[in-house]
Amino acid sequence: MRRALALLGLAALPLAVLGVFFALPVAGMVGRGFWPDGAFDPGAVAEVLARPRVHRVLWFTVWTASVATAAALLLGLPAAYALHRLALPLRGLVRGLLLVPFVLPTVVVGVAFRQLLGEGGPLAGLGWEGTPVAIVLGLVFFNVAVVVRTVGAAWESLDPRPGEAAAALGASPAQVFRTVTLPALRPALAGAASVVFLFCATGFGVVLTLGGTRYSSVETEIYLLTTNLLDLPAAAALSLLQLVVVVGLLLVAARTRRGSEAVVRRRAGRAARPVRPRWRDAPQVLLTVLLLAALAAPIGALVVGSLRVDGAWSLAYYRALGSPSQDGLLAVPVATAMLNSLRTAVDATWMALLLGGLVALTVTRRSRGRGERRVRATLDGLFMLPLGVSAVTVGFGLLITLDSGVLDLRDSPLLVPIAQALVALPLVVRTLVPVLAGIDDRQRQAAASLGAGPLRAVLTVDLPVVWRPLLAAAGFAFAVSLGEFGATAFLARDDAPTMPVAIFRLIGHPGLLNYGMALAASVLLAAATAVVVLAVERLRVPAMGAF
């Protein structure tokens, strides 16, 4: 009984936030679909589910997301190894830069992709523009960093001894990887895959920007139905469909993760130090370089674009960003927008870390009995849901449910960071859980038996091990927040435009100066992200002394 209460206590805050800012709004919107005029009428919803178009849209969503997820895993794995286990020069910088796609506004990347793939572009011959190939490429571009980071963080804290033992038993490096490393990474891989799949399946901007209007995903369909047609029963039907797919996926992922989580042991002091690359690492390094080159191409086009004015190199666009008001091109100086962005991102980051940390702690505590284990597994899955439900549904739902009494939070300045934190939360949880689950529970028991309270035990045992993954997660959350536009755009905000909003405005109007300034602002946003992520990853816990 006491344990059940303690379990609830630990999860109470995240559950409350999830309930108020996610479950309630979604239920509100779906409810409006089922009760169109106050009376229960599921007929409209059922009718929508029978439409062939809906089936087509669902199928398109699932297959593009699956292919993109598989591609991201395949491409991300070598990079995770190279960037987290090998002592490559500049790897910290590269890891920071990998997050850049995350924060780039989709419209900007869309234009960059178009320059590469579109008519007159260097890759136009492939004929990919406006095809599902372009959509999948775009999804991979935005999401491969998730694989590199979550898997990399787990790889970093892996106990190297089982691998060494296997090698001593005669296993080749490839066999060691297949028989020891890969199974140990399975929780992280499954976690990364489910997050990437959810991002891809709800990747709203990418489908629109890179697929033109020919392709619809469930997400774009919900957007259209809700913001344009106000066809709530249809939107509710698709939202439910989305939920079903997501829950099904989470069950599969949980199953994949299970078996192995108990097996993987990690120790703070024994984690492998990055090793100097050897010749046999050449393929991984090569693949990583290729991946980076592929990621860099659109970004490079962007940077070049921001520096070319009338066919000559110039900083004119950057200068224009500094003095915007005289031209009337931007409502606020870019510096202000950047500050707004950073401020929101800091809030979203600490919220995501606090909530995600609590969730991760809750779900990784040793369970007594099957029932408790099931409760924890359910909790784990629950916090993935915000990724799988349309931002539009949540956004409008917030509006109609949080509108009275103590819950009248529609105007709260915390709404935007909270919404972003909920998006970043699964990334935080998926980064922390595999590592926390790998800690020998007896370490905590030893601390407790020496007189350490629960909090102290976490500080002694969990924090040193989880510290690096925690920083990785912080970088993630930060980047997600900086780049998040979809969910935020629907929330009536304080009049404080963030960078993506400013960029969106600039590129949303004709004129070379506007376009150039949008590119320059994107480059600045990307640079700021990389710098912050780098700085965060370099933090050390001062109290940890020898750590």
């Binding site: 033109g212 409008f396 300045p413 009049d495 969106f504 109007h509």
Partner: protein, 375 residues
């Protein structure tokens, strides 16, 4: 109740916990907030409560493209004692639907940014309050933009702009091809593969263009679109993809010299030192978009809201519109920026579709349009 509020509205959360501390090391802590740096807001808090002046706080709901110079806003606040809170979010469609969904308990007092393609829905759903007949008289010239059927003047026109096909005149000059002039021309094989437009389902100018074709071709519009697609028209999801990505005069150095954009766009394609725009709007292809403001039904501060709506039609705001929001004023006699006056030609007789008809058919049209264009 509202007038008793004392704190400035732009507060940041103070729920900062120790957990923030770690991150606060990395960037200066966010929780200190953007708030108390707005003297106008602070001053005005004690100005409320009087009956002659509207005063108090007014929350203006608007779309993402809303922008006005800080000075214009500050002057208004100082003059009226109103503390204006602007809450942007979503595009015109999202804005309207937000209002519809929360009409029982609106999130603000006034709205700006409902356009003539969504206005009927807002009116039908009873989102907007009646104005007192004698309260506001619209300035000269505004009347012509009034929403047909809105006899109670619930929606006050604030700005307008035309969605028109634009052409890259320099491209046509270089290639020795005659520029197109009409919607019909776009299906001419001479212009095969040269046109790009944002889609009607995903973009508001795209929808306006669809309405142009509805106005021109009536029931036969789907045939026109079939021809358009057959002639190699490219359809993108949004204006940015079309203009910046595919248009020859866009930032992305696209390959298509004909694009759907606005009548104001040519004012932005004047190269430095040149006295000529390199693009031109085809004035026979235009659809007029008008944006409205109004007082919300159930507003906590209707007087203040009415003052804000009137302010949006004032000379100060009207003059600021072109450079802040890239749209034309609705009030007569407002001076335009020099570039606009020279390069932004305006159609004399743009296409129109009765808003009630738009409201009734929007779903069907979009569905059919989607079928035709993705066939």
């Amino acid at each position: 109740m509202r007038t008793l509020r004392t704190a400035p509205t732009r507060r940041r959360g103070r729920t900062g916990l120790a957990a923030a501390a770690v991150l606060a090391l990395a960037t200066s802590c966010s929780l200190v907030g953007t708030g108390e740096d707005d003297p106008a807001a602070v001053e005005s808090t004690d100005g409320g409560g009087a009956t002659s002046e509207p005063g108090g706080e007014v929350v203006l709901l608007t779309h993402d493209s809303f922008a006005l110079p800080d000075q214009v806003v500050a002057d208004f606040e100082a003059e009226t004692g109103i503390e204006l809170t602007i809450r942007p979010g979503g595009d015109a469609g999202a804005l309207t639907n937000r209002l519809v969904l929360s009409k029982d308990n609106p999130q603000g007092d006034a709205v700006f940014g409902i356009d003539n393609t969504f206005a009927s829905r807002a009116l039908e759903e009873g989102v907007l309050a009646d104005t007192d007949d004698d309260a506001v008289a619209w300035p000269d010239g505004v009347e012509q933009y009034a929403l047909p059927g809105d006899d109670e003047q619930r929606l006050a026109p604030v700005d307008n702009g035309n969605v028109c096909v634009n052409v890259d005149t320099s491209w046509f000059a270089e290639n020795g091809i005659e520029e197109p002039e009409s919607l019909d021309d776009l299906t001419d094989p001479a212009y095969e593969g040269l046109f790009v437009t944002p889609g009607a389902a995903t973009s508001s100018p795209g929808l306006a263009f669809l309405l142009s074709t509805v106005a021109e071709y009536g029931e036969d519009w789907p045939t026109y679109w079939e021809d358009l697609v057959a002639n190699g028209a490219q359809i993108t999801s949004g204006w940015t993809d079309a203009y910046q990505g595919s248009f020859t005069q866009g930032g992305g150095k696209g390959q298509r010299p004909i694009v759907l954009s606005y009548d104001s766009s040519p004012a932005f394609t004047v190269a430095e030192g040149s006295d000529e725009s390199s693009t031109r709007a085809l004035l026979d292809t235009c659809f007029q978009q008008v944006e409205y403001a109004g007082v919300l039904e159930g507003a906590e501060n209707p007087d203040g809201a009415a003052a804000v709506v009137a302010w949006l039609q004032s000379p100060e705001v009207q003059a600021a519109l072109p450079e802040s929001m890239y749209v034309f004023p609705v009030v007569d006699g407002v001076e335009l920026p020099a570039d606009w006056a020279r390069f932004a030609e305006r159609p004399t007789d743009p296409y129109e579709v009765d808003p009630a008809e738009v409201a009734a058919n929007r779903d069907d049209w979009l569905r059919e349009w989607t079928d035709v264009t993705t066939r």
